[in-house]
Symmetry: C2
Subunit: 399 residues, 2 copies
Amino acid sequence: MKKFPHRSGVPGFRFAGIAGGLKKNGDKDIGLILADAPCAAAAAFTKNIVKAAPVLIGRKRLRDGCAQAVLVNSGNANACTGSRGMRDAEASCAALARELGIRQGLVLPGSTGVIGVPLPVDKITSAVPRLVRAASPSGAADFCAAIMTTDTFPKIVALEDTVAGRPLRVCGIAKGAGMIMPNMATMLCYIVTDVAIDRKLLSAVLRQQVELTFNRITVDGDMSTNDTVLALASGKSKIDINKVNSITYNIFINILHEVMKRLATLIVKDGEGATKTLVIQVRNARTEGQAKQAAMTVANSPLVKTAFFGQDYNWGRIMAALGRSGAQFAMDRVDIFFNAIQSVKNGQGVERNIPKLQTVMKKGTIAITVDLKAGAQSCEVTTCDLSYDYVKINADYTT
Amino acid sequence: MKKFPHRSGVPGFRFAGIAGGLKKNGDKDIGLILADAPCAAAAAFTKNIVKAAPVLIGRKRLRDGCAQAVLVNSGNANACTGSRGMRDAEASCAALARELGIRQGLVLPGSTGVIGVPLPVDKITSAVPRLVRAASPSGAADFCAAIMTTDTFPKIVALEDTVAGRPLRVCGIAKGAGMIMPNMATMLCYIVTDVAIDRKLLSAVLRQQVELTFNRITVDGDMSTNDTVLALASGKSKIDINKVNSITYNIFINILHEVMKRLATLIVKDGEGATKTLVIQVRNARTEGQAKQAAMTVANSPLVKTAFFGQDYNWGRIMAALGRSGAQFAMDRVDIFFNAIQSVKNGQGVERNIPKLQTVMKKGTIAITVDLKAGAQSCEVTTCDLSYDYVKINADYTT
């Protein structure tokens, strides 16, 4: 497995990103992914009860596992916009379908931005011809720019491998920033690949990998109304991966996992105001659910997050978060390590290591390993710290 | 029911608070409540699995529902301190018991402050004679000062009523600030009353009122290892309230509720860095549990809290928090009001009210009322916003 330049493209796909006037500052805000032909498609959507119009439409259109185009805007989430929001999303997709001469059901909408404001649908429909003309195999970076909101850097991961001398490519493009939480809050991720895969199998492997990657990151515990991870497979490589657990299948799964894992980590690194990446691993919990619950509770604790921002060595806040997580354990058996240096032994601080641990607090990435000694199940969650800038970004966002 | 000056005291009790050198700045840090004789006592403790030594000892000593003295220190939580922490708390209580000439089991310990640092027990034991000498019926303010940590103002509520011409008094003293959450995180509250009440009944009414008051406030969703609400009843008023639902009983319950509710609200007002008080009421949920879960999810959402800090009118974040709360409802039926001005009608923003709602965002206290139209159960939760100062206070706390 190795990186490839995303400008060299993924066979079967073109991308575009243009400025359509939805972002006040004139940045790119309308993006397109266009497949040469209808192809296998699968998605995982937000579990939030409050779902944006594009999520409701995308879910319906993906029932047949087939799509050809993705039309995404930033600057407006088209969420909590009622029947008007549904009509607006459908009208945007219809304009694109007409321009492309394809069936409307093959177009999937996506939106990210402020909630509860009607979508400026005219801006989108009038930009469609220009958007289609701009589509190019090398346009992933433009598409990525068009879906960004408070992101501070683009998130594109392109990895390939070879099967019997032929290349197999997976390219993922994501936006994240705030409101990231298990079940993928305010996060859009589009994955394109040239493998040939059955639509049902694509759906199954996507869900499996979402659980292992995007559902194990969190920025602030919030979950958005718009989260989507969508995968499209063109089949252009003629590499068939439908034989589960075959060598070819495993090569594909490994690449897919790595693309999604790296994108998830990039999203945390770009968490709103983040200055540190925290990798929290809970080991030896009684159940896998308790391991995840314990790791997530530590990851989302404002007291834990602000301590790391302040580079303040304070393991007591981790113990307190573990203790309220719902995981079952004996407090006098817990061990905690920061970057492999022992911080807590059997529930009490290891005083001789404090100078070393204070040094660890200055690192940009810190691995916090918790051994509950209560069972045999583990879970790793990645998060970031909570800084002044998180408050600043989110206190000012809509104004 | 009316206020009384806490300096005039509650018959049967004396209070003290002195500086013992646990706080580096020389502020008061050791407090005492002393009853004239053993009296009825009950407490509600943290539900965190990680419990501080004084909680473990207090829980054990209260099995007989009887106590005479409470010894509390700030500056050190005596949590995650293992068997040494237990010995230290016992030694502190033993020193007080010796000084008073009472049985050690009648002394209840309490601690608040940094976790995982051994209690400076010598400072406490050597301060005990001075502490006892300082005890006075008018000393509630001293006791209150001695239990404060990051609190910015003292929290004392003293209310009385009359029964057949005789006064009945309840005085509550609390500390809070950060880490406040249902189940009473990092919060100490001591309530004294002169009614005559059976210890089992005292325990039952205390638990009932904790659920209706302290368990319905939250600052940051964290829960501490030390939380305690303790009530002591001297019986000195000779007013017997053991007849459940009698007029006298109801007078007492009303006063107790009001003391606890007012203290809970003061704790939220003094939430770390708080600039606003948010009263979130969820109406017409399917179950009471869902009503509470929905209100708590909104109250603990960092995105909601930062929006209020920024005075940024953003109802979409409330909808998003409701949608991930676990409460069941139809998103296109939800109504939301800010100080009785309608913000959301059937899941969509009420645009004509935006100017009025932007004005509401500038208020110090904002009532957010959510009607889910999914059932008949309600719950009200009080919280505060999330500001730069929350981050500052918590990034720097132990250093």
